[in-house]
């Protein structure tokens, strides 16, 4: 039954997180970008929303893991700032994968780590340092050895890498792609220094190398049943689509009052059709992006095949968001290029987000 109706719980959560994002995250965004780190207090504030912890519970929209709810909330967080939205979405992806696809033992072992008082980082680790990287052509391998695996490979762009207690490493294992839970202090794991990135700078994304790391069979996600890696990718693409929806909405909401005030050749910019039409298009596309990410999230929530809808939501959002950020910079002119306004940061963040894989989760 086609419906776009949000439940009361969803509306309340959306409003609460939206207000939190505006009042707490937006003011911290520039500082995180400049210093390439997120202040501890900001991470603790994100933790206090319990959006990450909720992923451990299979309670649906009201009290736990719900892809639709997550898509709503990631949009709200990202409307304030995408970097800080990802600081939540990256550990969310890890917790979701464990809660969703981990064995009983794995859930009992790992989920309590995310029930504490302090922000706890962990990440799903997919990308590798090659140009034209693709999720279907991974170089990282897990070789079967006796009762475990030997993990070898080089991963990159791992968010909050230095803070992560665990990585969920996506690797080729024979003919299949599999996921392995690796504590960050395992022998053979080394976390590189953050070299800085175009956007999402506060995440201090870094390389992680796995140099013959021995992983017991008990730490293969899902143990002997294995897992559905595609579902992790689908959830990530949906998450990025929701975050891109938020970033684009942020650009639009920031642009409207400025363009109504800024007078050029005797009239506010917003009263010129060329500008007004671009704003109308931004709004139309933000909404379309949202329905696309909701649809993918709904399919994940109902455990239906979501690969197509997640891919389409991600690709559509990537294209539209880049165009919206681009037009945002253009509409602000020189103000769009200087760091006194957030527009240039959102432009960098948008290009960054839309090429990432596996980094977020709904």
């Amino acid at each position: 039954m086609i419906s776009f109706e949000l439940s009361e719980e969803q509306r309340v959560a959306q409003a609460t997180i939206g207000e939190f994002a505006r009042s707490v995250l937006r003011p911290s965004a520039r500082e995180a970008d400049e210093s390439t780190r997120i202040a501890g207090a900001t991470l603790e504030a994100i933790w206090s929303t319990e959006i990450i912890q909720a992923q451990a519970f299979d309670g649906g929209a009201e009290v736990g893991r719900s892809p639709i709810m997550n898509a709503l909330l990631l949009e709200e967080l990202a409307t304030a700032d995408a970097t800080l939205a990802l600081a939540a979405a990256a550990p969310m992806a890890f917790v979701q994968a464990i809660a969703d696809q981990g064995s009983r033992r794995q859930r009992d072992l790992l989920l309590p780590l995310f029930a504490g008082e302090r922000f706890t980082a962990a990440a799903v680790v997919v990308m590798e340092p090659q140009f034209q990287f693709d999720v279907t052509a991974l170089a990282t391998s897990a070789e079967r050895t006796g009762d475990g695996y030997l993990l070898r490979g080089h991963k990159s762009l791992v968010p909050l890498a230095r803070d992560c207690s665990h990585f969920l490493v996506i690797a080729r294992s024979g003919d299949v792609t599999d996921a392995f839970i690796v504590p960050s202090d395992s022998a053979g794991v080394s976390v590189g220094a953050a070299k800085g990135t175009l956007g999402l700078r506060g995440l201090a994304m870094a390389d992680v190398t796995f140099d013959g790391v021995s992983v017991p069979a008990a730490m293969r996600l899902g143990e002997h049943n294995g897992c559905d890696v595609q579902r992790i990718i689908d959830a990530a693409r949906t998450g990025i689509a929701a975050i891109l929806t938020g970033v684009s909405r942020g650009v639009l909401e920031y642009a409207v009052p400025y363009l109504k005030e800024r007078v050029v050749h005797g009239a506010p910019l917003a009263r010129k059709q060329v500008i007004a039409f671009r704003l109308a298009d931004m709004h139309i596309e933000v909404e379309a992006m949202r329905w696309m990410s909701w649809r993918a999230a709904a399919e994940l929530e109902n455990r239906r095949p979501a690969t197509r809808s997640a891919q389409l939501a991600y690709t559509y959002a990537a294209t539209q968001a880049m165009s919206i950020a681009d037009e945002g910079v253009q509409a602000f002119g020189g103000h769009g290029f200087v760091r006194a306004h957030p527009i240039e940061m959102w432009y960098r963040n948008t290009r960054s987000l839309s090429v990432l894989e596996g980094i977020a989760g709904v």
């Binding site: 039954m1 086609i2 419906s3 776009f4 109706e5 949000l6 439940s7 969803q10 639709i68 034209q132 990287f133 693709d134 999720v135 279907t136 052509a137 595609q230 990718i233 409207v256 109504k260 917003a270 009263r271 059709q273 007004a276 039409f277 704003l279 109308a280 298009d281 709004h283 139309i284 596309e285 909404e287 379309a288 992006m289 329905w291 696309m292 909701w294 649809r295 999230a297 709904a298 399919e299 109902n302 239906r304 690969t307 197509r308 809808s309 997640a310 891919q311 389409l312 939501a313 690709t315 559509y316 294209t319 894989e357």
Partner: protein, 384 residues
Amino acid sequence: MVDFSLTNADERVLQLARQEAAIGHGHARYYDQHENELPPYIFPEVAGKPSPRDLARELEGETSGPAIIDVLLHLEESYADIRLRRTRTGLGQMIVNYAGSPEQVARWGRKELSIALTEPGAGSDPAAIRGTAARDPQTGDWILNGEKIYCSGFGGADGALVLVRGAAENGVRPFMAFVVEKGTAGLKMLGQVRKMGIRSWDTEDFVLQDCRVPDFNRIDADFKKTMIVFNGTRPMVAAHGLGVARALLDFTRETLAAHGVTVQYEPGAAQRSATQDRLLRLEALYDAALLSILRCKWLEERDGRTSGATKVEASMAKAIGGKATRRISQECLELLGPLALSEAFLAEKWFRDARIFDIFEGAGEINRLIVARWLLNYSAKELA
């Protein structure tokens, strides 16, 4: 609860509509080449058979709702190309039923009436309408003069609801609407319009030359009321466009698949060929437009069709639908290559048909104006 799945009843209705598409495709070229011949109201292949709309009514409680199933059926009917069953309902009659007096509804509510708005010098801007209505003080009749063009359905209709302007009151010439039935003296029909595409779509021009109608024919439908009807029809016409776009997209997908090119959704962009990448992006654009239309119709389902609440969403649906239809039709022809130019296939026809959908029933620019005024909280004067 957010849900994008069709109910079993939705599926049954749409399945029935899809089964009929091949019949429509079989007749499509003939009416493309015989534009002066109006297609029958019902084609013999489906005469006497239950229509998808009958089935939708029968299953009403089990579908996603009448507004949603209606728009999805419009898409399917357009996908089939020729309308296998044309209803004798025109926009003009919808307005009479909505704004007319009980006596007027009794007289014309079941007649097929087009709406005649556009003139050679007035399309998107109705303020430019020059057609006039002048009261004959002796008889109380109205004398209508003007030229009306691009009038959808007028060839087969019983008449039209004609929008003209009355004598100035306080310096403003009010919009007035009159029912003009065929056969009225002074109504001169100019025949089918010669168009690039949608040639089977009944479209006529006519002239009113001292055309006299009684005061009873005046419908209290001001421009605002007329526009409320568009809140429902804009997403519907956007769905029509998407039906054409999907016909082309399906043809392109099937043709390319026969040559071993299929879209995979698992890999990222780096593992896709240019053709695969473009196909995937066109699919995404199609879905984005469809979801925007469904959102609008869902709101209409919830808030009521004539509430006026969906004005902005209707414009959004039309704007993205029109854009998607243009782009999909243009890119599909390019992906198919030179053979698609041949009239041996329907692709070139669909390409021609598709272009109108960002023009009629509110051009893309008009819909963007509506969205922008709302977004910026500007009046029509502030953002012209």
